[in-house]
Amino acid sequence: MAISTSIWIWISALLTLAIYSFLYKDNPFYKFAEYLLVGISIGYGISVYWHNTIITKVYNPLVHDKDFLVIIPLLLGLLMFSRFFKNYSHLSRIPIAFIVGAGTGLSIPSSFEFLFKQVQGTMPTAFTIGNLIIIIGVITTLIYFFFSMEHKGFIGKVSRVGITFIMIAFGAAFGYTIMARISLFIGRIQFLLSDWLGIIK
């Protein structure tokens, strides 16, 4: 294997290095890459919204299917722009209220279902030390999140056990995330050493 001849690989490699240069210190190369990323990610977002929303959800239903109900969200969306006119800026609250209202309405039932699944999963189907630990862990953690009682005396001790459980969980999550992030760095190094420079097989 030898050094890559593909212009695209070179672009990727140079941009990768430009971002790593930030580890040394902030510099024009990093700044260039940073701003470039902002620019192209917005450009990408516009394109995706254009094809997946504007065309498929607004233009096609309106023009091809003659579904005039689409005009309502269209107007709601346009109301967002009232923000640019001082006297009418409050109108933009209506589309926001719509998104928030419908969003919370959609989330409440699934939150409950999720809750049930968690409680159900905690039930000890077999009597083992492990299951006992799970029940104790869940209950003490919940008691840590008690707000209408002061954490003193018995409650205080129980919530101490709860926070210990929380810390063990955080430790495990931390360990696993270290592993994943190092894998990502390994991935970039492989790209640089192999796809670009061709040093390793």
Partner: protein
């Protein structure tokens, strides 16, 4: 105290440099740390090795994008090689537009490498392997595959009609496929388990990122999946298995990374320990 001050005021760029070295050096001078094969990896390997007849079909779900490519790409490659060694046909399928690029990349690389290493057993795009075209709809697509795979996709990702491809001979529904390995780091795994495995009784294994591996252990326990590859380590174990049993000699993306992974983890532990020693010395001195 001098030492403590030195450590405390150390420029963090030195730490960055060390991290980089700790990862890069094992690449250039690999050690090849011995590795134990974990049971979930072994069972996936055994299923593909023993339970799929020659010319059987392995379906591989490429449902990841470049952000988790480092962990999942090596798995896809190892699985493809394993299928080639056993003369199985491989079908790639993706539920995400970005997955298409990933799949094409794997097919490209594995075919070139395989054919140069095994001139006596050439593999061909369209006959032994292909990538089904991307069709939007996720769960709708999975369900439709249970009724008619060729009608769901019509074409492969290279624009060839599926009915003209030898790789698709006799493939109509999930029943004609022997095994599926789903590679993903997101909730799409659950959809596959619900539809392909739950509704159509497709035998399934999962390959996923280190972050999700802990979560997906529960699918292993429930028997919805009979194997699990977790993170770069899982991929490395799989590479080890095909190396030992089939004499695989190509590039081992994951195994090569394992030395780096090991050394980086040790380095992290050292950092934490050192940081704490300094912390306690300082506390002790201040306490006096």
């Amino acid at each position: 105290m001098k030492f403590v001050n030195f450590i405390n005021n150390i420029d963090k760029r030195w730490i960055y440099l060390l991290v980089a070295l700790v990862v890069i050096i094992p690449f250039v001078f690999p050690v090849g740390c011995p590795m134990r094969i974990t049971p979930p990896v072994q069972s996936m390997y055994n299923y593909i090795e023993d339970s799929i007849p020659e010319n059987g079909v392995l379906l591989v779900g490429i449902d990841y994008d470049p952000s988790t490519m480092a962990e999942l790409h090596p798995m896809a490659k190892a699985l493809t090689y394993h299928a080639f060694y056993n003369n199985l046909r491989v079908l790639f399928v993706t539920m995400y537009p970005q997955g298409s690029g990933m799949g094409q990349d794997i097919i490209d690389k594995t075919l070139t490498q395989w054919n140069s290493a095994n001139p006596e057993n050439q593999k061909e795009l369209g006959r032994d392997i292909t990538l089904l075209a991307y069709v939007p709809g996720v769960s709708a697509v999975m369900l439709k595959m249970g009724e008619n795979i060729p009608a769901t996709f019509n074409e492969d990702a290279y624009g060839n009609k599926l009915e003209n491809l030898p790789v698709m001979d006799g493939i109509k529904t999930y029943n004609n496929l022997n095994y599926m390995v789903e590679l993903a780091g997101s909730s799409v795994v659950l959809s596959w388990l619900m539809y392909a495995n739950g509704r159509y009784k497709m035998k399934m294994g999962i390959g996923t990122t280190a972050v999700s591996a802990a979560e997906y252990y529960s699918y292993l326990q429930s028997g919805q999946s009979n194997g699990l590859l977790g993170g770069l380590k899982g991929a490395a174990e799989y590479e080890k298995l095909i190396t030992e049993n089939h004499g695989y000699a190509g590039r081992k993306d994951a195994s090569v990374g394992m030395d780096a992974q090991s050394s980086a983890h040790i380095f992290f532990i050292l950092l934490i320990v050192l940081g704490n020693i300094v912390f306690f010395i300082k506390k002790y001195k201040e306490g006096k």
